[in-house]
Symmetry: C2
Subunit: 408 residues, 2 copies
């Protein structure tokens, strides 16, 4: 870990935010989500490129943790629990199939390639979650957000996120200890689900009381800061309970989604996210060393092979999941393709695998390649399937949080 | 420097923000500015009290640097250059006298106490700047913001801030090198003023071009992030030019004050400030060890002596400055008392003296005591002088930035 002085930090942050803005705008000009531009700006600025940005500092790692934290809080704030429960059988089946198929295929493929158990599980886990932000953005651009297929995809993507978080927690729990057993997997799954359930139930009971207490502190910016305090505390509690920090942030978002001043909180968190979230995405890009994908080296060929296999099972796992609700009369191919982009959640998994020492450089580069390719691929494929390109408006909810992923 | 894990960081941030909010609200209930509550919450949570918060981490120091950065950017955004030049002879005389008198008195007193040159200069410097935020808030609470005395105080407080920044830069420049000579003081003064002038002139020329370029990147949150990029870059440039980071942040604020979307930028910076600025104030409080003021110890008596002397010259230096415009027909005592509270700028100086190794623990504790006492003293004294307590509204500009200092 290198030591950091303030001028160097300021210079790196300036370069990262500028890179994120410029490449994000260019990505959007080409009909791609801004998050892709941010990732690519990280590749350009970091270890793969100009080496202007060095993420190997405690402060940079902590700023990235705060970035994921704000992002998950924002996603939680977006997730309406009642809607979520009403998402229906079709969405649930698509989501579960879309988590199980890529995970099992990814795990199996990695084991066949000779990788160890824990790394194979983590690699499989990176394939599970669909990016809500990217999916919603692409559907909206195609004017398909309100269609039956669009609603199913959105519902499934949200369920996906929660399942992905649970898997992440399970994997993270295993990373700390010995090789996974059925018992340990069951236990960490129970802790993750248990934490979510306890927080939501306790929150429903305590929220009126908390809101009254919060009403005593009436100053500008207060709702957002109180929301941050709750989210930071729950993140810490999730960690203490043996689960993942971000599960706490997400749970706080779920709880705050229904409070009277949720809109104010959402706005404040979004403004904070405009600063913190690009640091995460650019930081992930800057951490990747594309030299590990050099086909002239044995390690590079290995990373390309893993990346290729992950891309293959990542695409077909989600595509088949679209056909899982066999009774559905609409176009199942649209659902399948709509679930393909991995985006931010895949990156969070990859970053965690790296931090936990489960992934080596090759595997991390392979996972990043998978995220890049699946995210690049979905928009043009969807356009082809839908055929006509109609302009569409984002739903109201999207002008707050989702632009963190889509347009920030 | 201790190493830091994410859960510990999250727990500390939760505790700091919660302490800032609760103690800030209590301070306001007692008619005191919120920043005092934040400082005191730092005293409670940090080394002087519960030791729940440990600022001796690279990440915490960097977050504090970002806090000062956001605060100075916000103050710059508040400072209207034309108004600033029109502030008039009276304000200028009050400001210059209010900088020179406390500085000379403080320096002299410290030298008489046997302190070395550089520490005496830094201690004198901490006495120079009046807190714009606290002054404005107190005047508004007394319904005196629009009075002639009020306008003079506000103008002088703003000029104070700029002079204080220049002095800070000079002192910081000297801290890096050998003992100060007239030449080195003149040189660092020239660099600080030169930087401000060059940035403002270059900014006036380049701003239309920059704004056109920025217009190409139209995404939510963009104005604020572009402002941050400019401010981070200028802060870095100021450091490279041999000046202080925060001078660059302040200069960026001055430049952005007049752009078409300044209001949007101000709003975004304020939201970021609600997160970052309390971290700075609580952090300063947490860094102080009040055990160094223990009168049973020789060091404690020494710190109390220094603190007492600084309080004395700090109060009378500013009070006399109120009488400097001898031709003014209004109540000069109100002007003098209105200039007394030191608040955030004194703390920034003290923190820098500590970081640069100029201040030892006793001196740092003494300076913090001075800031606490002068800030506590002004509101009741002003109330006594003005006599009647009329409710007053803050001016429009204050609902954005100034609440960072006053109510955040």
């Amino acid at each position: 870990m290198h030591s950091l002085e303030a001028p160097q930090l300021f210079a790196m942050l300036a370069v990262m935010l500028a890179g994120a803005k410029v490449m994000g705008a260019i990505a959007q000009k080409f009909g791609q989500p801004a998050v892709l531009g941010e990732l690519i700006s990280g590749l350009i600025l970091g270890r793969s490129g100009l080496a202007l940005v060095d993420m190997h500092h405690e402060t940079m790692e902590m700023l990235m943790e705060l970035g994921v934290f704000v992002l998950l809080l924002a996603i939680g704030l977006e997730t309406e629990l009642p809607k979520f429960f009403k998402a229906g059988k079709t969405s649930t089946v698509v989501a579960v199939a879309g988590v199980v198929l890529p995970f099992v295929l990814g795990y199996g493929a990695c084991r066949l390639l000779g990788m160890v158990d824990i790394a194979s599980i983590m690699a499989g886990a990176t394939l599970t979650a669909t990016s809500v932000g990217i999916t919603a953005r692409v559907l909206s651009d195609l004017g398909k957000l309100g269609s039956e297929e669009g609603q199913i995809i959105l519902g499934a993507a949200v369920i996906d996120d929660v399942l992905g978080l649970v898997i992440l927690t399970v994997v993270k729990g295993m990373a700390g200890g010995a090789s996974p057993t059925l018992g340990s997997v069951a236990w960490t799954t129970a802790v993750a689900f248990g934490f979510l359930i306890v927080v939501i139930l306790a929150g429903k009971l305590l929220m009126p009381w908390l809101l009254r207490a919060a009403g005593l502190i009436e100053m500008p910016g207060t709702p957002t800061i109180l929301a941050l305090i709750l989210a930071l505390a729950l993140a810490w509690a999730a960690d203490r309970a043996g689960s993942a920090l971000i599960l706490g942030a997400f749970a706080a978002g779920l709880l705050l989604n229904a409070v009277p001043r949720a809109h104010e909180i959402e706005h404040g968190v979004t403004v904070l996210g405009h600063f913190f979230v690009p640091i995460f995405f650019v930081g992930v890009g800057a951490s990747v060393d594309l030299h590990y994908l050099d086909p002239r080296l044995a390690d590079g060929r290995w990373a390309l092979l893993i990346g290729g296999v992950l891309i293959f099972v990542g695409i077909f796992g989600k595509l088949f999941a679209g056909y899982a609700p066999y009774w559905f009369k609409g176009r199942k191919s649209i659902i399948g393709v709509g679930m393909i982009p991995r985006g931010e959640v895949g990156l969070i998994f990859g970053q965690m695998g790296m931090t936990a020492g489960i992934f080596d450089e090759s595997l991390f580069a392979g996972v990043t390649l998978m995220v890049l390719v699946t995210t690049f691929l979905a928009p043009p494929l969807l356009k082809r399937l839908v055929g006509s390109h109609r302009g569409g408006e984002l739903p109201d909810s999207a002008d707050g949080i989702e632009d963190l992923v889509m347009e920030a």
